[in-house]
C-alpha cells in the first residue's frame, strides 16, 4: 500500500496506546507545569482564555470545567480565528492566554500570539507538542506536552496529551492560587494516575461495542454526538474524528440545544451518541436520552451506568466500569467515539483523511502551518 494512504488501523493503535501515554508522560507534564508555575506570577490572573483550532479547540472545551471548578477562575475556550479577529481588542491585562497547538504551528494560534506581543502586560502560555516551533518562540511561557509520534493519523494521542497537560495545569494552578490545598491537589493527581487502569479495563469492551455499532449505523447519512459541560468538548472531538476518519457527516451539539433544535431533524432513526458521565448534567442526559428514544432515534450512550435508565438495545450502550470524576471524564469518554470513527472507516472501506483521494487541505496557503 502507498504509505501516504492512511489505514484506520492506525487510529485504533493510537487509542490502545493511551494508557501507556498517561503513565509514561504524567510525571514529565507535571514537572513541566510545576517549573512553569515557579516562574510565573499568577496572583492577578482573573480570567483564562484557552485558544485552539480543531482538536485543540475541543481540548479547550474539555478542560474548561477543570479550570473553573478547581481554580474558581472564569475560563473561556475560544477558537483561533474568533480570538484573532474579534476578541483581541478586549483582552484585559489580568488575563492569561493559553494557546494550544500540538504542532506549535497552527496558523491562527501563531498569528494570535504574534499579535499578543502588542499587549505586553498580558501573559501568554503555550501548550505545544513540539518545543522548537513558532508558537514556542512567541509564548512567554511554555508547557511541553510532546509525545512520541506514531504516524500520521487523526489526532488522538496529541489530543490526549494536550488535555492531560491542561488538566494537570488547572490543578497545580489552583493549588498555587490557594483555591485548593496541597492535599486536595495530590488526591486529584492520584485520581488521574488511575485513569490508565480504567482505560485498560474498558478498552476491549469499547472496541467490541463500537465495532458492532459501526456495522449497524454505517449507512446512516448523519451521526450526532451530544454532551454537556466538559463533554461538549468530547462530543465535538468525537464528531471531528468521524469526519476525519471516514467523511461521514457528524456533528456535535450541547444536550440542551438538541432539545431546542436538532430533535426535529430527519432521519427519524438518526444515530445519537450521548456522553453521560456521572456529573452535573447527568439529569439532563437522562431526559434527553428518553426524549431521543421516544422520537425514534437510535440512541447510543456512554455512561458509568450509575443513574441512567439505559436504552433497551444493549448492543448500542457502552458502559464504563470504574469511577472517574467529571472534570477528568474527557480523558476517557472520547475513546468509544474515536474507535467508532475508525470502525466506520473500516466498514465503509475508506481511508483516514480521505488520503486515497487528491483532496488536500494543505494546498491552500492560509491553512498551512507556519514554519
Amino acid at each position: 500500500m502507498n504509505s501516504n494512504i492512511l489505514d484506520p488501523e492506525l487510529m485504533i493503535n493510537e487509542v490502545f496506546s493511551l494508557p501507556e501515554l498517561i503513565r509514561h508522560h504524567f510525571d514529565d507534564f507535571h514537572q513541566s507545569v510545576c517549573t512553569l508555575l515557579n516562574q510565573i506570577s499568577i496572583d492577578e490572573i482573573e480570567k483564562v482564555y484557552i485558544i485552539g483550532c480543531g482538536d485543540s479547540y475541543h481540548a479547550a472545551f474539555s478542560s474548561e470545567m477543570a479550570f473553573e471548578t478547581f481554580c474558581k477562575i472564569d475560563t473561556e475556550p475560544i477558537n483561533g480565528l474568533r480570538f484573532l479577529a474579534y476578541c483581541f481588542d478586549n483582552i484585559d491585562n489580568n488575563s492569561l492566554i493559553i494557546g494550544v497547538s500540538a504542532s506549535g504551528r497552527s496558523a491562527r494560534i501563531v498569528e494570535a500570539f504574534s499579535l499578543m506581543k502588542q499587549k505586553r502586560n498580558v501573559k501568554t502560555l503555550a501548550f505545544v507538542g513540539t518545543k522548537d516551533s513558532p508558537l514556542s518562540q512567541l509564548a512567554d511561557y511554555l508547557v511541553d506536552v510532546s509525545v512520541p509520534f506514531m504516524g500520521k493519523c487523526p489526532g488522538v494521542r496529541t489530543y490526549q496529551a494536550n488535555l492531560l497537560g491542561l488538566i494537570i495545569f488547572s490543578i497545580m494552578f489552583a493549588e498555587r492560587k490557594g483555591k485548593i490545598s496541597s492535599n486536595e491537589a495530590q488526591v486529584l493527581l492520584e485520581e488521574i494516575k488511575q485513569i490508565p487502569d480504567i482505560l485498560e479495563d474498558n478498552l476491549q469492551e469499547f472496541q467490541n461495542h463500537t465495532a458492532e455499532v459501526a456495522k449497524i449505523i454505517k449507512h446512516q447519512p448523519v451521526i450526532l454526538f451530544l454532551g454537556s459541560g466538559p463533554n461538549y468538548g468530547t462530543a465535538m472531538f468525537c464528531a471531528a474524528k468521524v469526519c476525519e476518519a471516514c467523511g461521514m457527516v457528524s456533528f456535535a451539539q450541547d444536550l440542551e440545544e438538541f432539545a431546542h433544535v436538532e430533535n426535529l431533524c430527519y432521519p427519524d432513526d438518526m444515530p445519537v451518541f450521548i456522553l453521560a458521565p456521572d456529573g452535573k448534567s447527568t439529569w439532563r442526559a437522562d431526559q434527553i436520552l428518553k426524549f431521543a428514544q421516544t422520537l425514534g432515534k437510535q440512541v447510543m450512550i456512554l455512561t458509568d451506568g450509575v443513574s441512567l435508565e439505559l436504552p433497551v438495545d444493549n448492543r448500542k450502550n457502552t458502559i464504563l466500569s470504574g469511577f472517574i470524576r467529571e472534570q477528568f471524564s474527557p480523558l476517557v469518554y472520547h475513546v468509544p467515539g474515536t474507535l467508532l470513527a475508525a470502525f466506520l472507516a473500516k466498514e465503509l472501506n475508506r481511508k483516514l483523511f480521505r488520503s486515497d483521494q487528491s483532496t488536500s487541505r494543505i494546498s491552500f496557503p492560509s491553512n498551512i502551518s507556519i514554519n
Binding site: 483550532c53 480543531g54 472564569d74 474568533r82 457527516v249 431546542h260 438518526m270 452535573k280 487541505r361 491553512n367
Partner: protein, 375 residues
C-alpha cells in the same frame, strides 16, 4: 398543535422592516427603564444566557457589546450556565457583572432557573422577553418586554430580530452609561439601528428570488452547512436552525476556521455550503474558505454585500444583502436569505414547520417540550 403553514414564515420575513422601523425607538425607551433599575456602575461584563434562537441572537450581538460598548461579553447556553458556569463565577471578582437571560416565550425553563441561580448568588439579573407576565419577568431583578403583535405560529424570525434589537440597545446604552461615548453618539447608534429597516427591506427584494432558485436546485440534499465567524457564527447557527425547524433537513452551523480543520472532510462531495460573509474582520478568511469550498466540489452559496465581487466569483449562487451595514449589526439582516431558503425548501419538499403535519412525531415531541416550559 395545529398544522403550521410555511406561509407564516414568509409573513415573518416580510414584516421585518416594519418591525425594526416601528419598534426601535419604543424598545429603546423600555431598555432605558430597565437599566434605570440597575444601580451599580460601571457594568464591565455581561453574561448572556439563552437557548435556541435566543442563544443564536446572543452570539450575534456579542461582538457589539465588546467592539462598540467595550464590555466583556460571554454567551452561554442555559443548561451549561446553570450546571457549570454560574457556581464558578466568583462574585468578588465579577461584582460589576450583569446577567441577561433571554426567552422570547418567557417560559424557557433553563433560563428561568439560570436567572434564579444568578440572583441567589448575588448577581443582578435582567430578563429579555417577548411576553409580559411571564416566568422570567417574575424572577429577574429587572426586565424588558419586547412585545410584538401576534402572528400565526412559525419558526421564530420576528422574535429573533426583536431579541437582537433589544440586545443592541442594551449594549449601546451600557457603553454610554460607562462613559465610553456621548449621548449624541448613542443616539446615532440608535438611528443606525432603526435604519437597518431600510436595509432589511432592500435585502428582502434582493434575495427572495435567488433563495427560491437555490431551494429548488438543492431540494434533494440531505445535509447542509452554514459557515460564519464572529457575529456571523450566530447567524450561521440561526440559519441552520431555521432549515431544521421548517423542514427537518439536517443543517449545521460552524465557524469558518473550524470548518477548515474538520468538516471539509465530510461527504457528500457536493454538500451545499452557505457562506455568511459580511464585509468585516473575518472577510479575508471567508474569501479563502470560499475558494476551498469550491475547489472541493461543494455547492457554494455566498451571502454577502451586493457590492462584493471578489468572493462571489467562487459562488454557485449569491444571496445579496443590501449595502451597507456594519459588521456588528449584520446579524439583523444576513439571515434573511437563509430564511427565504428555508421557506422555499419547505414548500418544495411539501413539508410543514416543526413537522406539524406529522401527528405521531408532534405528540411525542410536545410531551417532552412541555416539561421544559415554566408557566
Amino acid at each position: 398543535m395545529n398544522l403550521i403553514s410555511p406561509e407564516s414564515m414568509l409573513d415573518n420575513i416580510k414584516d421585518l422592516p416594519n418591525l425594526v422601523e416601528k419598534n426601535t425607538l419604543h424598545f429603546s425607551k423600555l431598555v432605558d427603564q430597565a437599566l434605570n433599575n440597575i444601580h451599580f456602575n460601571p457594568i464591565t461584563q455581561v453574561y448572556i444566557v439563552g437557548d435556541g434562537d435566543s442563544f443564536h441572537a446572543a452570539l450575534g450581538a456579542e461582538y457589539a457589546f465588546e467592539a462598540i460598548a467595550g464590555i466583556t461579553c460571554s454567551v452561554v447556553s442555559g443548561q451549561k450556565f446553570l450546571d457549570y458556569k454560574i457556581r464558578n463565577i466568583p462574585l468578588e471578582v465579577f461584582k460589576n457583572t450583569l446577567i441577561i437571560g433571554i426567552s422570547a416565550s418567557g417560559s424557557t425553563k433553563r433560563i428561568v432557573q439560570s436567572i434564579n441561580a444568578g440572583k441567589e448568588l448575588g448577581f443582578v439579573t435582567l430578563a429579555l422577553t417577548g411576553r409580559p407576565d411571564s416566568a422570567v419577568i417574575k424572577c429577574a431583578d429587572t426586565s424588558i418586554v419586547l412585545e410584538l403583535p401576534a402572528f400565526p405560529p412559525s419558526p421564530g424570525i420576528r422574535s429573533y430580530v426583536a431579541t437582537l434589537l433589544g440586545l443592541y440597545l442594551i449594549a449601546f446604552k451600557l457603553g454610554f452609561r460607562n462613559g465610553k461615548y456621548s449621548q449624541e453618539k448613542t443616539d446615532l447608534l440608535i438611528d443606525e439601528l432603526k435604519d437597518t429597516s431600510i436595509i432589511a427591506e432592500k435585502t428582502i427584494s434582493l434575495s427572495e428570488n435567488g433563495a427560491k432558485k437555490v431551494a429548488e436546485e438543492l431540494v434533494n440534499h440531505s445535509s447542509l452547512m452554514f459557515l460564519g465567524s464572529g457575529p456571523s457564527f450566530g447567524t450561521a447557527i440561526f440559519s441552520a436552525a431555521k432549515v431544521i425547524e421548517s423542514c427537518g433537513v439536517f443543517s449545521m452551523g460552524q465557524d469558518l476556521e473550524e470548518w477548515s480543520h474538520v468538516e471539509f472532510f465530510a461527504y457528500p462531495g457536493d454538500m451545499p455550503t452557505f457562506l455568511i460573509a459580511p464585509p468585516g474582520r473575518s472577510f479575508w478568511r471567508a474569501l479563502e474558505i470560499a475558494e476551498m469550498v469550491k475547489s472541493y466540489g461543494h455547492k457554494l452559496i455566498v451571502i454577502t454585500s451586493e457590492i462584493e465581487n471578489e468572493i462571489t466569483k467562487y459562488a454557485d449562487y449569491v444571496l445579496p444583502v443590501s449595502h451597507s451595514i456594519s459588521e456588528e449589526l449584520s446579524p439583523l439582516v444576513y439571515h434573511i436569505g437563509a430564511d427565504f431558503f428555508a421557506y422555499y425548501l419547505t414548500k418544495f419538499l411539501g413539508r410543514n414547520p416543526f413537522r406539524s403535519d406529522d401527528l405521531e412525531f408532534r405528540e411525542k415531541n410536545m410531551e417532552y417540550q412541555k416539561r421544559d416550559r415554566i408557566r
